[in-house]
Symmetry: C2
């Protein structure tokens, strides 16, 4: 049989290696894209992520579930998901170096707002943002498919600290 040893994590986390439940798995399945053991794991990590992750974080979490996941496969799977528009790529204004961050593409775009001092990142949704994209589409006569907005500054806490 296939999958002789699943290299499962010994922690008590929720593990659905064989099922096709996650949104990303469903999306790829629907497109007739081969679902390998490694892909399932990476997709699950992305689906379960409560926030944006960089490649090393994805790898780390994936290996906790299945130690046989290689970083190259993470890169290749990310490319695949990007091509299909299923994840968004961020760089958070290079707050922590030049690495990229990824998150599943939800139903609505949101803005990432980062504090340049403490590094806290918050998300922001606004009808204004939707209006703005519509305005661009209309003015330039183009079909807008991706957008990324990242805002940096100093949160109230950090402003207080630095004035002391």
């Amino acid at each position: 049989m296939a999958v002789p040893s699943q290299h499962r994590a010994s922690t008590g986390e929720r593990i659905n290696t064989a099922e096709t439940t996650g949104k990303l798995q469903q999306a790829l399945g629907k497109r007739r894209i081969r679902l390998t053991r490694q892909r399932r794991v990476i997709l699950q990590v992305m689906d379960d992520a409560e926030q944006h992750l960089d490649v090393d974080q994805i790898l780390e979490r994936a290996q906790k579930i299945d130690s046989g996941v290689h970083v190259v496969t993470v890169y290749r799977t990310i490319d695949l998901l990007k091509k299909h528009g299923l994840i968004d790529e961020l760089d958070l204004l290079h707050l922590r170096g030049d690495r990229h961050y990824y998150e599943t593409h939800g139903p609505r775009d949101h803005i990432h707002v980062a504090c340049l001092r403490c590094g806290k990142v918050r998300e922001f949704e606004s009808g204004l943002y939707e209006q703005l994209k519509q305005q661009i589409a209309r003015d330039f006569d183009m079909k807008v498919t991706v957008s990324r907005t990242e805002v940096g500054g100093y949160c109230a806490e950090c402003l207080e600290k630095s004035s002391s």
Copy 2:
């Protein structure tokens, strides 16, 4: 004497190596930051740029004026300008790889709008964008200092072509 050979370009371009005319040069001069021969050249290139440039383009243009400019100095000067908020860093949605682009920070922020097929990049300014940033500052109680918005899609021309 200093500067034995200025390594000037032989082309008939406007060259003001010794003067302190550009906006960036003035800005750094005002801050008591040392203006070396190399910095003057790089600042002039940035000031004269009609659009965003990547590091190699900056280097290339700088070396046409003064061949004694090293790429490391370009990186270091970019860092300096970033720290002082005098230039903006873009990556144009990684349209052409992961390199970064730089442009002088004008009086108003603008959005970069790129066609994912032909690569054309246009700029967009909008009161809505200013409102959006104000909304973020108010809602999160933070001081917004930088923002970057990049929008991708397909321009009318490219949409036409692909439907054929």
